[in-house]
């Protein structure tokens, strides 16, 4: 944005408080200030006093040590405001919480007021040490969130600038289009009139009226065609703009994360970290390995099975008895011939692993 601040030409009798040279004698005089003490002096004084290294402020009563590189031109006329804005810049840099991060409007408003209070303290030099310490503490504790918020702000600024420049460009285009259109129209009208005249000159007197009517019609048709063309163009542009905007908003939505409550600021929204996504479950919560009634034991005593247990043939073929146990148990408890309601009631009544175990053992024996 245009912000080149020119030299105020009206205060011609302005005098440098250090060397007492006035603007009247030296029209190119520039005044500089140092944010250490905000005493104003002219550029030549700064050169003269501070070129050979840091020195103390020449204003009587102020013994601050100043360095040349910190001198700068003053933005605001009022030194008090200048200083306040400097302080504000620093504080706002640290306390840069955003409205979305708070529980509600009220909490955010309280935060805003607290921030004002801190700035006011620093400006009026009351409780400086305590406030500074608070700030410092907050800054070290919340480094990450400060960073992210700064980033968001920057992003917002750049996207805003991009949008503005885009809009300006579009406006310029539209202006040019309108001008061209006007020009075209004029030219066409001119051409049409000439054409009409020449045809009138060539034709006979009898068909003059018809030629006139026709030429009028042609003109009208042309103008309406032009208008519809414009409409189409405009709609296209509007659609384009809409999509641009959407992209802009996408850009600005950035995830933010950070520690929740800090000592200084109250009412921050608790940040919930989203639970990690669970793996895909094809049985919708049913686990084939899970058994409600039994626990699979290493081996069950059975004469029938002893044979198999010893057979090398079966072992070599990869037959696993545990497979067999589990399948058999599954079949036994698959719910064939039993009533679920009763079962549930029963389960609720005496739900104990031992009972289940016994049952399992009995089943195995029965087999």
């Amino acid at each position: 944005m245009a912000s080149n601040i020119g030299i105020d030409r009206r205060d011609e009798d302005e005098v440098c408080p250090v060397c007492k040279s006035s603007r009247y004698l030296n029209p190119n005089m520039r005044f500089l200030i140092n944010p250490e003490c905000y005493h104003k002096m002219c550029e030549s004084c700064v050169d003269r006093i501070f070129s050979s290294g840091p020195s103390s402020c020449p204003v009587a009563g102020c013994r601050k040590t100043l360095r040349k590189n910190r001198f700068r031109a003053q933005t605001f006329e009022d030194i008090g405001v200048e200083r306040e804005v400097d302080i504000r810049r620093r504080v706002m840099h640290i306390l840069n919480r955003r409205e979305e991060e708070f529980d509600g409007k009220r909490a955010y408003d309280d935060f805003l007021e607290q921030r004002e209070e801190i700035i006011a303290n620093l400006v009026s030099r009351s409780d400086v040490a305590k406030t500074e310490a608070q700030l410092q503490k907050y800054a070290t504790e919340n480094m990450a969130s400060i960073r992210t918020n700064q980033k968001i702000e920057e992003q917002e600024a750049t996207s805003f600038h991009a949008r503005i420049s885009l809009e300006q460009e579009e406006a310029r285009m539209r202006r040019q289009l309108a001008r061209e259109e006007l020009e075209n129209e004029r030219r066409e009208m001119h051409a049409g009139r000439e054409d009409f005249l020449s045809r009138l000159a060539a034709g006979t007197s009898s068909d003059a009226a018809s030629i006139a009517r026709e030429s009028h019609k042609v003109q009208l048709r042309k103008s309406s065609a032009r208008h519809s063309e414009q409409d189409r163009l405009r709609q296209k542009q509007a659609a384009l703009r809409g999509s641009e905007l959407k992209r802009g908003t996408n850009l600005s939505s950035v995830e933010n994360a950070g520690p929740s409550d800090t000592g200084l600021i109250k009412g921050l929204r608790k940040i919930k970290t989203p639970e990690p996504e669970k793996p895909y479950d094809p049985f919708m919560g049913y686990l084939p390995e899970k058994r409600d009634y039994v626990t699979l034991q290493q081996s069950y005593p059975s004469q029938y099975l002893d044979r198999l247990r010893k057979s090398t043939q079966a072992a070599a073929g990869g037959f696993d008895l545990r497979e067999y146990y589990s399948r058999t148990l599954m079949e036994a408890f698959a719910g064939l011939g039993c009533f679920v309601e009763e079962e549930i009631a029963e389960r609720d009544a005496n739900r104990s692993a031992s009972a289940a175990n016994e049952g399992a053992a009995m089943a195995a024996v029965d087999l």
């Binding site: 080149n4 030299i7 605001f76 400006v123 503005i164 539209r174």
Partner: protein, 794 residues
């Protein structure tokens, strides 16, 4: 005279009525029946106000809804005139009906015009009167008095509390003078009587601003019900009024005084902290709770009200960073300092509110939200501090208003910083213009709120421009012509001088000696042939000055002095009124005078030159606006992009409405007569943009004249007009008696019947024709529609 429109009995206070008045009333009634907005153009000097009032009063009294009428006019004198008309009308109704109706009609104007307090009314500036009045009448002052403190109060205001609140003045119509007299007799404040009686009035007459300017409208017109009939009279400039009501100019002086105001406030806050800290704390806790809206009973003595339209108000609590009074002051100070730095720029800048806000935030960390609440917060602070000398805080209020507006509106506004007053100036005098570009923004609440809005004036052509610019749809658009028994005004377009060289005020040739001399001879000739007064309009003060000095060098003024006294309008109001007075005197005694004035000045807008005060009006050059102005350029661009009104169309529309306004000045009634001359080559092509009534009276042979032809035409015309003319000649043609109206009605009925029958037979015929022929007809018809649509497009 009494007659019926449909079933509505209308009492008209004169024995005769003009045909156009009758047509106007008929259309007005139709609009009111249907509900909706309308645009009506009626020739000047044909009794627009009286026909409007008599119809609406009849409508109010006849139908049980008793819809209230809000009649808005432009100037004090017009308001006074309308009130006088209303009074006469009600008197006539009383004698006709034989009893007084229960009816109240009041007019409202500023405190300055209605004040009776012996010391306050002597103040010259309106804002000072407002401030002093407030300091004598505010609620907290009264509380102080009750607590036994020694404070001044206004006796006139206090007496109002002794009366019944709904019967402060007796029923009837009071003119502004009348209410002043009544107030003096009964020792009561006329201003507050009217303000408080507004809900009980049948007719309220006041200025546009009370309805359009959100700062005032919120306070004055809030309680008016939805079914009110709103009339904007003399509305040809209404778009500019709308725009002005939302625009603000800030100069360096304002900023300086605002800084002083802010420091004063700071001191006051310190004082209060040491004496009465509780009050500040109360305010603070209220703000924290967001209760201020409920509590803020928008009293009469409020300091400022919110400058934004009611729809755009934020219904939230004040943001935390301006809740405390001292934080708010530092906030204001920062904002003012920021504006000061902006003022130091030495080149012109034009930017949109969003870009202004971003820059503001970059530099001073002021965000948009607290800025929006600036006006509200300042009001609350001023109320808490119980400030008495409010006029000192006027600039601060302006800054707060600006802050609120700039933070509220993104579209349709532009900020323009002009560091120099003119191109040539070297001493900077920066002004920050915050300009509204869209007239529809300010007037939208009016259209939304009231069911019937009537926009009327003598010059509204082209009619379709107004609905387009103001963003509404009109159920009725009508322009009436003027019925005349004789040709009583002679409009002419002069395109060439006597030497056949074209005359024009276009920038390229306006200072050519040939053109200047031709204009000079035109003026000289007309001052020679015209009896009594001649009025000459120029496009701008600048051009007027240069051309007069050139005429002086050419000896043209000396020639004019042989026939007329020369008087000139200046930007200074008092000088101009003196010139006008002298002009009137000269017209009444002696050979008359010639008045040079400007087409956009005060004279062109509201001063009538009836009868011998104006027998000829010359419009030298097309009164275009100054097209290099940044504000105008921004507005043109806005109109093009949003309403598809082309730059040239708008400029020429604007020029022609002002030209028509100038021409309308000389003809103020049917027995009046006058010559109207448009002296510019470019007028010939702009003729269709003139109002219908002027355009109809202009013969084709008189649109391309040279000076000598125009002068001989005018001579002939004036000679004819000088013949005796009896009012009897007009009867039946340009004035109707009751019998004429009845005859007209009967004729219309017969005509309607005939049309109906014809349609009927046509329908039969249509059935009879073969299908192929039908198609052919259909095709033809389509083509016609096409053409019509194209015409609209073009």
């Amino acid at each position: 005279m009494k007659f019926f429109i449909d079933d509505l009995p209308v009492l008209f206070p004169y024995p005769r009525i003009y045909p156009e008045q009758y047509a106007y009333m008929c259309d007005l009634k139709k609009t009111l029946d249907v509900g909706g907005h309308c645009v009506l153009e009626m020739p000047s000097g044909t009794g627009k106000t009286v026909s409007l009032l008599s119809l609406i009063v009849a409508y109010q009294q006849h139908y049980p809804e008793h819809r209230k009428l809000i009649y808005c006019s432009r100037t004090m004198s017009e308001i006074e005139k309308a009130l006088a008309e209303l009074k006469a009308l009600m008197k006539h109704r009383a004698t006709e009906l034989g009893h007084e109706e229960e009816f109240r009609g009041l007019g409202l104007t500023s405190r300055k015009n209605l004040c009776l307090h012996p010391s306050v009314k002597r103040e010259k500036s309106g804002t000072v009167v407002d401030a002093r009045c407030r300091s004598l009448t505010a609620g907290f002052v009264k509380e102080k008095k009750e607590r036994g403190e020694d404070v001044d109060l206004c006796v006139y205001h206090d007496n109002l509390d002794l009366l019944e609140p709904h019967n402060l003045v007796p029923p009837g119509v009071f003119t502004l003078d009348g209410i002043l007299r009544y107030g003096e007799e009964h020792k009561q404040c006329p201003y507050f009587s009217v303000r408080r009686m507004m809900p009980y009035c049948n007719i309220i007459i006041y200025s546009y601003h009370y309805l359009l300017d959100p700062k005032i409208a919120e306070r004055v017109s809030r309680e008016l019900s939805k079914d009110c009939i709103v009339v904007f009279d003399e509305a040809h400039n209404i778009d500019n009024v709308c725009i002005e009501s939302l625009s603000i100019d800030i100069s360096e002086d304002v900023l300086r005084r605002a800084t002083r105001g802010a420091s004063n406030l700071e001191r006051k806050i310190e004082d209060m902290k040491s004496t009465d800290a509780e009050k500040l704390q109360n305010e603070y806790s209220k703000l924290v709770e967001g209760l201020q809206q409920a509590e803020q009973a928008r009293e009469e003595d409020q300091f400022i009200s919110n400058p934004v339209l009611p729809d755009d108000l934020l219904k939230e609590a004040v943001p935390g960073n301006i809740r405390r009074a001292e934080h708010f002051i530092s906030f204001l100070k920062r904002f003012i300092e920021y504006l000061k730095t902006r003022m130091k720029v030495t080149h012109t800048i034009s930017e949109t509110p969003p870009s202004f806000l971003t820059h503001l935030k970059d530099l001073t960390y002021i965000e948009r939200k607290p800025l929006r609440f600036c006006a509200e917060r300042l009001t609350s602070l001023v109320r808490t501090l119980e400030l008495i000398n409010i006029e000192d805080y006027q600039p601060l209020q302006e800054i707060a208003t600006f802050a609120t507006l700039v933070a509220t509106y993104e579209k349709g506004f532009v900020l323009i910083l002009e560091p120099f007053e003119s191109e040539a100036a070297t001493v900077p005098n920066p002004i920050l213009h915050f300009t509204c570009l869209d007239a529809a923004i300010a007037i939208k609440p009016v259209f939304d709120r009231f069911s019937s809005v009537i926009i009327t004036s003598g010059t509204l052509s082209p009619l379709e421009m107004y609905p387009k610019m103001l963003g509404f749809t009109a159920v009725m658009q009508e322009s009436y012509s003027m019925t005349l028994a004789r040709r009583s005004f002679l409009p002419m377009i002069v395109t060439r001088g006597s030497d056949q060289a074209q005359v024009s005020s276009s920038f390229g040739i306006r200072n050519d000696p040939g053109v200047v001399r031709n204009y000079g001879t035109l003026v000289t000739e007309f001052s020679r042939v015209t009896p009594d007064g001649v009025v000459v309009f120029f496009p701008s003060y600048l051009y007027m000055e240069s051309i007069i000095s050139m005429w002086q060098g050419m000896g043209i003024l000396d020639q004019i002095w042989n026939y007329k006294l020369i008087l000139v309008e200046t930007p200074d109001a008092q000088e101009s009124s003196l010139a006008l007075e002298t002009y009137r005197t000269a017209c009444c005694n002696g050979r008359g005078a010639i008045l040079f004035c400007v087409a956009r000045g005060k004279v062109s807008e509201g001063i009538d030159f009836d009868h011998h005060y104006g027998r000829a009006v010359l419009c030298i050059g097309v009164p275009f606006q100054y097209t290099e102005s940044r504000i105008l350029k921004a507005r043109l661009e806005f109109l093009r992009e949003n309403y598809r009104i082309r730059e040239n169309d708008f400029l020429s529309f604007d020029a022609m409405r002002h030209a028509a306004q100038c021409l309308g000045r000389v003809l103020r009634g049917k027995d009046d007569y006058g010559v109207m001359v448009l002296a510019d080559r470019r007028f010939e092509r702009k003729r269709p943009q003139l109002p219908k009534w002027i355009n109809q009276a202009m013969l084709d042979s008189e649109t391309n004249l040279s000076t000598d032809m125009a002068v001989s035409n005018a001579k002939n015309f004036l000679r004819t007009m000088a013949q005796p003319f009896k009012s009897k000649d007009q009867e039946g043609i340009s004035t109707w008696s009751l019998a004429d109206i009845e005859r007209h009605e009967a004729k219309r009925k017969i005509e309607e019947d005939r049309m109906m029958r014809q349609e009927h037979t046509n329908g039969h015929k249509m059935d009879a024709v073969t299908s192929s022929a039908f198609e052919a007809v259909d095709d033809e018809y389509d083509d016609d529609i096409d053409q019509d649509m194209m015409m609209l497009d073009a």
